[in-house]
């Protein structure tokens, strides 16, 4: 029931009310902040009846899982308060793994089952117990079998949650060092590779890859 006017000069014609309603619905859905009627009016074609449309939307969403609510001077969609328990797990928090953690994790992924001593040998730096504990808390690393060698050290392996997070089918699919280089994932490739490949000479991995986005 798309009631968009075919190809008239829409710029000067006021869309019918149902179309205005679709517009305000999309605007408020996509907005990060509540929007005031004035803000909404600025986005819509001239002559729209924002007050009426907001009342229509409010009625449409009454009793649904999502409601249209007035928030101070603005309007916003919010989930119905009685369904809050569905959302109330944890606050979504985005955090970046430390360099030590991601390096340790990568060594576990490539060398599992691997002992802490072996991780340290590969990294060339000591690995704090906290790093491995944190990776286990994340559910990405768990204890494997004890190594049948003197001292019977514990080993570490990755979990299915690890595969899930990194979108891997199995750790066997991880590329080898040579393939990493070929895929351009070595941040400091051997000098012979980079002499002409990095005209800007900014080989730091913190900088965004310059060649993809311009």
């Amino acid at each position: 029931m798309n009631s968009m006017p075919p190809d008239e000069p829409a710029l000067f014609e006021v869309p019918p009310l149902p179309e205005q309603e679709r517009m305000v619905e999309a605007l408020l859905f996509a907005s990060a902040e509540p929007m005031s009627e004035a803000e909404i009016a600025r986005r819509l074609p001239k002559g729209c009846d924002i007050g009426t449309v907001l009342a229509m939307l409010e009625r449409r969403y009454a009793g649904r899982g999502v409601r249209l609510l007035r928030r101070g001077p603005g309007w916003a969609f919010r989930t119905a308060p009685d369904l809050g328990f569905l959302m109330r797990r944890e606050v979504l928090e985005e955090r970046k793994l430390s360099r030590a953690a991601i390096e340790t994790l990568s060594i576990v992924a490539y060398h599992q089952p691997v002992t802490r001593a072996e991780i340290e040998e590969i990294r060339g730096v000591s690995v704090s117990k906290g790093t491995l504990d944190a990776l286990m808390d994340l559910g990405w690393v768990k204890l494997g079998r004890r190594r049948e060698s003197p001292g019977r050290p514990v080993t570490f392996v990755t979990t299915p949650a690890f595969l899930d997070h990194f979108g891997l089918e199995s750790t066997r699919d991880l590329p080898g060092v040579k393939e990493l280089r070929e895929a351009g994932l070595l941040e400091a490739a051997a000098p012979s590779d980079t002499a002409h490949a990095l005209p800007r000479g900014a080989g730091e991995d913190e900088t965004a890859p310059p060649s993809l986005l311009d």
Binding site: R89, I122, G124, H165, R181, L186, D205
Partner: protein
């Protein structure tokens, strides 16, 4: 087969079309045109497009002529071409000979037609991917044409904390670990960790007079240069150079039992006590 022989003209039109039609000399204009190509295949594809037919039905012979004429023009204008353009030219010349000569005994080598079909297939396949890329970019894209919820609430997923570690981060970390040894600079603190030759010379000259018996070179290192490996390496090198200089003056004698064996020093015969 009926082939067009008009390649010589179209290639130049193409270069003109690609370079800006300013009053640049031919050479520069051709160079600008060439800069626009990602490689010989890209150039071939652009030439094939100028035939304005289904890429799988192009005249490969005309395409070869066009490419070779283009190369000749570049040579005439003294434009340096990357090696892969020349490799492609050689291969196309080979292909042309296979197309014009009688076919080889069956089963020996691929026939000219087979090679030509392969070339046409590859050009069509690359062209298809170019068009697909354009079609992909023209899709209704998230954040441009279509929008997600602007104010997501709390934890939407079963995951509590979203760790911003992607696959590429993991792979880079491993690559970093595995290649670290190769790139660690030998002396990170080169400025503070070097014992100057003058200092070593002064120290050795001062002490050697009191050393009549063979004494290992390392025995002459200053205490604070003997422990930390980097400083120790530097001090050994400077002291050795100092010993050579003093030996030249006759102030020191040096002995070594074999390659890489310890170096021993003692007071030289001509050195004496004082200056």
């Amino acid at each position: 087969m009926a082939e067009r022989e008009d390649g010589v003209d179209t290639d130049w039109e193409m270069a003109e079309g690609l370079g800006e039609s300013t009053g640049l000399p031919d050479g520069e204009r051709l160079e600008i045109a060439l800069d626009g190509f990602a490689g010989p295949i890209d150039l071939l594809l652009e030439m094939a497009r100028s035939q304005k037919v289904d890429l799988r039905r192009i005249s490969v012979l005309a395409l070869v002529e066009q490419y070779l004429a283009f190369m000749a023009e570049a040579r005439r204008l003294r434009i340096e071409l990357a090696a892969d353009y020349l490799v492609m030219a050689a291969w196309l010349a080979y292909l042309k000979s296979r197309l014009l000569l009688p076919p080889p005994a069956p089963g020996e080598e691929p026939s000219g037609e087979e090679l030509a079909a392969d070339l046409a297939h590859r050009l069509a396949r690359l062209e298809a991917m170019r068009k697909a890329g354009a079609a992909l970019m023209a899709q209704d894209r998230l954040g441009r044409d279509v929008f997600a919820r602007g104010a997501p609430e709390a934890a939407q997923r079963a995951r509590e904390t979203r760790w911003q570690a992607g696959l590429a981060d993991l792979l880079r970390a491993y690559a970093r670990v595995r290649t670290r040894e190769a790139y660690v600079p030998l002396a990170a603190d080169a400025r503070t960790g070097v014992l100057a030759l003058e200092a070593a010379l002064e120290r050795l000259a001062e002490r050697i007079g009191g050393v009549p018996d063979w004494t290992v070179l390392e025995g002459f290192l200053p205490e604070d240069w003997a422990e930390e490996p980097g400083r120790r390496r530097s001090a050994v090198a400077s002291s050795f150079a100092a010993a050579l200089e003093l030996a030249r003056q006759g102030a020191v004698e040096i002995r070594q039992e074999g390659s890489f064996a310890p170096l021993y020093l003692r007071r030289g015969a001509g050195g004496g006590e004082g200056p």
